[in-house]
């Protein structure tokens, strides 16, 4: 519906424009006022505040443009150069060990955890590792420090990041009550559920200065 309407409008506008351009008198009028349809020009005092783009008739408000600065698209050469510069900077930072504490977003046991050194994680299932064993978490989605962040697409390669954890404890959860009760039907079931739990302590997050 909308497409056909605009097409028709475009057609009429083009026809009127052709007619005006052909006519020399109207051409001079166009040059003088700078408008295609001189009847539409208003008196200066009653004209609204100039919109951002001169063709828009709606006045500019705080919501006319997005609050973030407009980014001009770059040509691929320039983009590649800038990317290489950023990567070089990050690699030098890591090689000089300029970072303080690193964080990582890790996918483990069907959850994503934002993780640093020395913090604890509770996983609600049994893990095939004994207490005190050291584990490496391979699915790392993001790594960062104070001055840089590396976002994986969707994962970061195994030769670039290393996240290690220790299994501290393997217990059962507290006894959860699973109960059903229907009133006036003499129906009730009660079950006590204890799920296995594992507690991990994240020991280290290491990054290698091999980003490309």
């Amino acid at each position: 519906m909308a497409l056909t309407l605009t097409a028709a409008l475009g057609e009429t506008l083009r026809r009127t424009a052709c007619r005006l351009r052909a006519d020399p008198r109207s051409a001079s009028l166009f040059k003088h006022t700078g408008l295609l349809f001189p009847s539409f020009e208003r008196h200066r005092s009653s004209r609204p505040i100039a919109a951002l783009s001169p063709s828009s008739l709606v006045p500019a408000t705080s919501l006319s443009r997005p609050p973030w600065p407009e980014v001009q698209p770059l040509c691929p050469e320039e983009e590649r150069r800038r990317h290489a510069a950023v990567v070089q900077k990050v690699n030098t930072h890591i090689a000089n060990e300029d970072y303080g504490r690193l964080f990582a977003v890790v996918h483990f046991a069907s959850h994503q955890w934002k993780v640093t050194n020395e913090d604890l994680i509770l996983v609600e299932n049994h893990i095939a590792a004994g207490c005190g064993d050291r584990i490496r978490m391979e699915k790392v989605l993001m790594v960062g420090g104070e001055n840089f962040t590396v976002i994986g697409r969707p994962l970061i390669g195994k030769e670039l990041v290393r996240v290690e954890a220790t299994v501290i404890e393997k217990t059962e959860s507290w006894p959860k009550v699973y109960m059903q009760f229907w009133k006036r039907h003499r129906f009730q079931r009660k079950r006590i559920v204890k799920t296995p739990q594992t507690i991990l302590r994240i020991n280290t997050i290491e990054v290698a200065p091999r980003f490309t």
Partner: protein, 150 residues
């Protein structure tokens, strides 16, 4: 009861276990059983076969075996943080008892109650905690007292 009506705690470890070395939290295990009771049959079998292997597998734990005339055999586990857990093992098989003991060795002595959050960090923010003026200048400049304009 519901989780709101029972006690709860935050996820924690005993004395930063795992940051440096991992230390097994089970300090002492006392097995109390009777020499001639039928309910202690499983315990007696376990003591014949499996106790020595268990003790060698957990070198940091001390195992006490105390026969005494009792009707209900018990395993009393004491942990590094001082908690004591007692478990009755009447008429259990030797295999079940060894499973119970390995589970007790894998636990730390913290209370088995509802854990509020499945994670714990001492450093929640690394790049700085977000506040509404991160990446944004405050739109009106410094706030000054109004001046009368003639």
């Amino acid at each position: 009861m519901t989780s709101r009506g029972t006690a709860s705690r935050f996820l924690q470890s005993v004395l930063r276990n795992g940051v440096g070395r991992y230390v097994g939290q089970l300090k002492r295990v006392s097995i109390v059983f009777s020499k001639n009771g039928q309910s202690s049959l499983g315990i007696r079998e376990f003591i014949e076969e499996g106790v020595v292997d268990y003790a060698t597998k957990n070198p940091g734990t001390v195992v006490y075996v105390t026969p005494s005339p009792c009707r209900i055999p018990r395993i009393v586990a004491e942990y590094m943080n001082g908690n004591v857990r007692e478990k009755t093992v009447t008429s259990k098989t030797s295999k079940e008892i060894s499973e119970i003991l390995t589970q007790m060795a894998n636990q730390s002595g913290l209370d088995i109650i509802r854990i509020r959050k499945p994670f714990h960090t001492d450093n929640p923010s690394i790049q700085g905690q977000w506040h509404p003026f991160t990446h944004r200048p405050p739109s009106i400049g410094p706030i000054k007292p109004r001046t009368l304009e003639d």
